[in-house]
């Protein structure tokens, strides 16, 4: 699970993107800042998504079909590897099956699609069934069918969107080389009144659901690699403790409550260990325990704040974290036994590291010119760990914090405070295609992308 061979292309792509910065920087010097380009480093495949054909007269068909069509279109657009033909440029037809599609029509101007997704959606007796196809429009292709899939579920809008996510992930994996992220979740904190609770939503911002009802301040949700539990920190009478929510049981499960300002739990990628910050000695330090909270061992011993640990998910042999040992917080890396400490950032105010699934990059929040009187704006950066070379992903758009990598290493979700409102956004790992996922109704912060 940790390393699958098809992962490499995505990593290479981002590498290319980072490397391409060097080459293109001089050509872009007239701009306000260095733009990172329009894709993740390779030519995007031009793909069209036909509106699916309604395969039944049932009155539910219309609403479920529009939920499906919209979700599939957005998933392909968000994937970061396609040039998706705009809905206004596709042929005004709804082919429901391979017999009904005229491939040259999709290949021709103005759609110019290299690939086309199409199919039929039908509702009958409360049951939803979808047949989806992906065809190559290249003339003379002996077998143009790339995918043919059939899905069934109960006839609800949520199920219709989920089937679209599954079909999109099939297309993305087939054409992009790594599994898509359309079925992943984002855990986050939502504040209403004085309280903050843990919530979850689909990766595209739909299907928001409240998990905890503790009536206090809960922060820093981190989902376990197997999607069974969410660890977070919560303010109780004795201060901050780690709490554990079981997604299988739909309730909190027991976990040692230390108090002592115990913060920011993070899972190792094998799900066997947690790293966190605790001030049981009177000074916040990084600890590691097993997944049940026992066997805690202290890794750091420096005066000053140490918080926000995150494991290298590739090896679980290193931990990145934030330390204030030299005053303003900086990002550091150490071995997971506390040895070989290395400082990664060279100044400013650097917090909230997230380690890419490939193991090669850190995303974090950084304000390079922070100081007394500064407005406190901060941006998301990505650093190549081996070279410590970094690039800035967000620019001139509020205060950005808490980046979290998607499992495909192509996307980053983060929080953005703009005009007094904090919402959750996602973008490609080169900073492009920024999309707002949450919209009002409180403050939405500290997103954490599920592992699968």
């Amino acid at each position: 699970m940790i390393e699958s061979p098809p992962r490499k292309p995505a990593t290479l792509r981002i590498f290319l993107f980072l490397a391409s910065l060097v080459v293109t920087a001089s050509a872009l010097h007239a701009q306000d800042w260095v733009r990172t380009g329009t894709n993740l480093g390779v030519t995007r495949i031009r793909i069209a998504a036909a509106d699916f054909k309604a395969g039944s007269p049932d009155s539910q068909t219309g609403p479920l079909k529009s939920a499906f069509d919209q979700t599939l279109y957005n998933d392909l657009r968000y994937a970061g590897i396609f040039d998706v033909v705009s809905k206004s440029m596709i042929p005004n037809v709804m082919p429901g099956s391979p017999q009904e599609i005229n491939l040259p029509q999709w290949k021709a101007d103005p759609s110019n699609a290299a690939m086309v997704a199409f199919g039929t959606l039908a509702v009958s007796g409360g049951h939803l069934s979808v047949q989806g196809y992906l065809y190559d429009t290249t003339p003379g292709t002996p077998n143009p069918q790339v995918l043919g899939k059939q899905y069934g579920d109960t006839a609800t809008a949520d199920a219709s969107r989920m089937i679209a996510h599954r079909f999109a992930d099939e297309i993305i994996e087939r054409l992009g080389g790594v599994p898509g992220i359309a079925e992943t979740k984002i855990y986050y904190v939502s504040g209403h009144g004085g309280d903050k609770e843990i919530w979850v939503m689909d990766y595209d911002g739909m299907n928001e659901r409240q998990l905890t009802h503790l009536g206090t301040i809960s922060l820093s949700p981190h989902v376990s690699p197997d999607n069974s539990r969410v660890a977070f920190s919560s303010l109780g009478r004795d201060g901050w403790s780690i709490r554990m929510y079981s997604l299988d049981l739909g309730r909190l499960v027991s976990f040692p409550q230390w108090g002592d300002t115990t913060l920011s739990p993070a899972w190792s990628s094998d799900g066997n260990r947690l790293a966190f910050s605790s001030a049981r000695t009177g000074d916040p330090e990084i600890y590691v325990s097993d997944a049940s909270g026992t066997g805690a061992r202290r890794l750091t011993a420096f005066r000053g704040p140490d918080v926000s640990p995150v494991w290298n998910p590739k090896t679980n042999a290193q931990i990145a974290w934030v330390s204030g040992r030299t005053q303003l917080p900086q990002i550091y890396i150490m071995d997971s036994d506390g040895a070989n400490i290395s400082r990664m950032t060279d100044g400013g105010y650097a917090t909230s590291p997230s380690w890419s699934p490939s193991g090669q990059f850190l995303a974090f929040a950084w304000n390079r010119s922070y100081g007394p009187g500064a407005p406190g704006g901060e941006d998301i950066y990505v650093m190549d760990i081996a070279s410590k070379r970094w690039t800035q992903l967000t620019h001139d758009a509020g205060a950005n914090d808490f980046p979290s990598w998607s499992p495909d290493s192509r996307h980053i979700v983060f929080q953005r405070e703009l005009n007094g409102h904090t919402e959750i956004w996602m973008m490609l790992a080169d900073g492009t295609d920024q999309q707002q996922l949450t919209h009002g109704g409180g403050t939405n912060t500290m997103p954490n992308w599920s592992w699968k």
Binding site: V34, D238, G239, T261, P372, P375, D401
Partner: protein, 247 residues
């Protein structure tokens, strides 16, 4: 706007790095990270003193302050003031006057403390019970911290001593020390910093003779604020260790 000016400086620095990288990209090792953009404006300077520094209740003291290279000068509790000046103050209790000078070249601050001699002031007998939260907060004052710091300032030592005196007279009281941070910076880091602030205040009280068994710390980071304006005066109010009755 200061923000966009700053960010374009950052952008310029980023561009400079990339150009540097472009110039020597064949080298095996990455070049060292860049220095922060050079500040052209001189850094502000600030001094403040009080005369006399100790007064009896009802008496007054004169504050005199001077700043250079500052565009925005304020004294916490008094608000915006001229770049240099004097002002007569008549505090009813020991008060620290925190001068903040902000300019294009950065920020400077200085503090003067006027101690109000309270030897003659009536203090409740140690046996008295029923100290309520209100009476407690009037006698056990919060201590304030510098930006991104959890060191007890010299002016806070006076406060700590007065707090310890009261707690030594009321040995039945237990105390929660809350650590607070201003709204800037990151949530998790501020929770850790708030814990360091609360613990610094706890250690100062322990040094002043209070048993650690009577003291417990809770960090509120930037989750709870005393003041919600986006000004340095307000941020200073929020960078504190606050004492409340542990009930």
């Amino acid at each position: 706007m200061e923000y966009s000016k700053r960010t374009s400086l950052v952008a310029a620095a980023g561009l400079a790095v990339l150009l540097t990288l472009a110039g020597c990209h064949k080298k095996k090792e990455a070049p060292p990270p860049p220095a922060a953009p050079a500040e052209t404006a001189p850094a502000p300077q600030a001094t403040i003193n009080a005369n006399p520094t100790t007064i009896a209740p009802g008496e007054s003291s004169v504050l005199t302050w001077k700043t250079t290279d500052a565009t925005n000068v304020s004294i916490v509790g008094l608000g915006q003031v001229a770049s240099s000046g004097t002002q007569t103050v008549q505090p009813t209790q020991t008060t620290s006057y925190h001068l903040i000078a902000q300019g294009d070249g950065g920020t400077a601050d200085a503090t003067a403390t006027v101690t109000v001699a309270t030897a003659a002031a009536p203090t409740p007998p140690p046996t008295e019970s029923g100290i309520d939260e209100n009476a407690f907060e009037q006698n056990v004052k919060p201590v304030f911290f510098d930006y991104d710091s959890y060191d007890i300032r010299p002016d806070a030592q006076t406060t700590i001593q007065a707090d310890a005196n009261f707690l030594n007279q009321h040995t039945e009281l237990k105390v929660v020390i809350g650590g607070y941070c201003d709204e800037r910076g990151s949530t998790e880091y501020n929770l850790a910093l708030g814990e360091n602030r609360a613990n610094a205040a706890k250690q100062a009280l322990v040094t002043a003779g209070i048993s650690p068994d009577r003291l417990r710390t809770v960090s509120y980071g930037k989750e709870k604020q005393f003041c919600t304006d986006h000004t340095e005066a307000c941020w200073q109010q929020n960078r504190r260790a606050q004492f409340t009755l542990d009930q």
